[in-house]
Symmetry: C2
Subunit: 230 residues, 2 copies
DNA sequence: AACCGCTTGTGAACGCCTGAACAAAGTCGC
DNA sequence: GCGACTTTGTTCAGGCGTTCACAAGCGGTT
């Protein structure tokens, strides 16, 4: 079967597919049976043509003249994004942010299950967070091996993030979500995604200043009834 | 002074500038006086040439043959990203994530100060979080007017995020950081940045599956000593 | 004072992603 | 059963961002 299409899906598209999936889940709960690309794009905040292009990476998913089957497309997206099977995640660094993530219901409902919470602080170890007991970080390797966790989430201070990352990778974790404000270096074959909260705010501050600083040039553009999203 | 600001800075560059700034702050604390673009790029996890191009948007910042002055570049970046002045932020939705953000020291240290925490839940209102008392969301308009807050952070459930957003915009907030899993629609002149935590995990899950599912095609790329970050 | 090495700044090519226009295809109404 | 309308899937051009490569400029040295 030479037609095993190893079609390459751009990472930006993958991120949007996840958004579409969430919108579709909501529509399915609402009892809708079909959606058009226009409506779905509007709900997801993207361009309709772009949405169709994104979906085309998965092959034909819709019916021309009708739209997309809500349940059908949801299942196809679920499958494309890693299936229904729940994925075991390890969370290192149970500070305020870590605790919030451990409790976050949005993870569990999408198949991501925390199987271990780790911290170095003896005052934190032993506490119950989100139904799990915080364990000392020394148990990291054993925990990963035992639970076959494939995803590691790092919410430690910046200065220990790299060493935690190294231990996770050595233990077999190949996907890492990093909240610590450092660039992690990992061997090839390991994926890292970084979320930097203060950078987000700083970008907003920059845009804010840019708006205030260049009004003689940009201000003439009045808020017309253009209702543009984004 | 006709030399205002004709140069337009790409948003991706702005986000990286914020990262450089953090690295520089660390180097300054360490007592370093100069850095090269290569070292800075390595610490930030980007390409050296790209870093130089990013900095070139601010005009010449370095000295050829020597590098960049740590303190000088830090001050210039601080200025470009909105100055030293602290910015007032309002946080709506004091759940677990909201509480974690209200306490997050990374915000305060970068000049972002929460001046109001709002929630609808009577059980939450009145609680003390991060040195502030949670107030009922009915006080939103008054609070924004009184504190001149320019940044709003939304950590509410998805179904009320749009209405909270509308009220923030109507009250004068022009920059919004959205953690709720919905696409907010705002009038022109308002900037929104979205952080979607479960999308991040789902992208990792996809990459994970792709690795396992298509090794016959992609595996030949062996882990060379390329030490590539990212 | 002149040379040499090092580092910045910039110009150009490459690739990726986005946004719009067009053809294929299927359904609904008559 | 046929025609017209609707909506998808695809193709094309445009813009943006990234990367490579080279010239310009500065400091240190002889």
């Amino acid at each position: 079967m030479p037609e095993s299409r190893p079609r390459i899906v751009p990472e930006a598209t993958v991120a949007r597919l996840a958004v579409y999936l969430r919108v579709l889940a909501g529509l399915a709960d609402g009892g809708r049976s079909h959606v058009s690309s226009g409506e779905l794009a509007s709900a997801a905040g993207v361009n309709p043509a772009g949405l169709r292009k994104d979906l085309s990476y998965l092959g034909p998913c819709g019916v021309r003249g009708v739209g997309y089957s809500v349940a059908g497309l949801r299942d196809r997206l679920t499958d494309a994004l890693g299936g229904e099977r729940s994925r075991a995640c390890v969370l290192v660094g149970i500070g305020r942010l870590g605790s919030a993530l451990a409790d976050y219901s949005g993870f569990a409902s999408r198949g991501f299950q925390f199987v271990g919470l780790l911290d170095t602080d003896p005052a934190t170890v032993g506490h119950q967070v989100g139904g799990l007991t915080v364990r000392p970080v020394a148990e990291l390797e054993g925990l990963v091996a035992e639970t076959q966790a494939t995803i590691g989430v790092i919410t430690t201070p910046a200065d220990v993030a790299q060493s935690v990352c190294d231990r996770l990778v050595a233990a077999g974790v190949r996907s890492i979500l990093n909240f610590a404000p450092v660039a992690l270096s990992v061997p090839a074959g390991v994926d890292v995604r970084k979320v930097d909260l203060s950078v987000e705010l700083q970008v907003l501050a920059f845009l804010d200043q840019q708006r205030d600083g260049v009004p003689p040039v940009l201000a003439p553009v009045r808020a017309t009834a253009q209702g543009g999203v984004r």
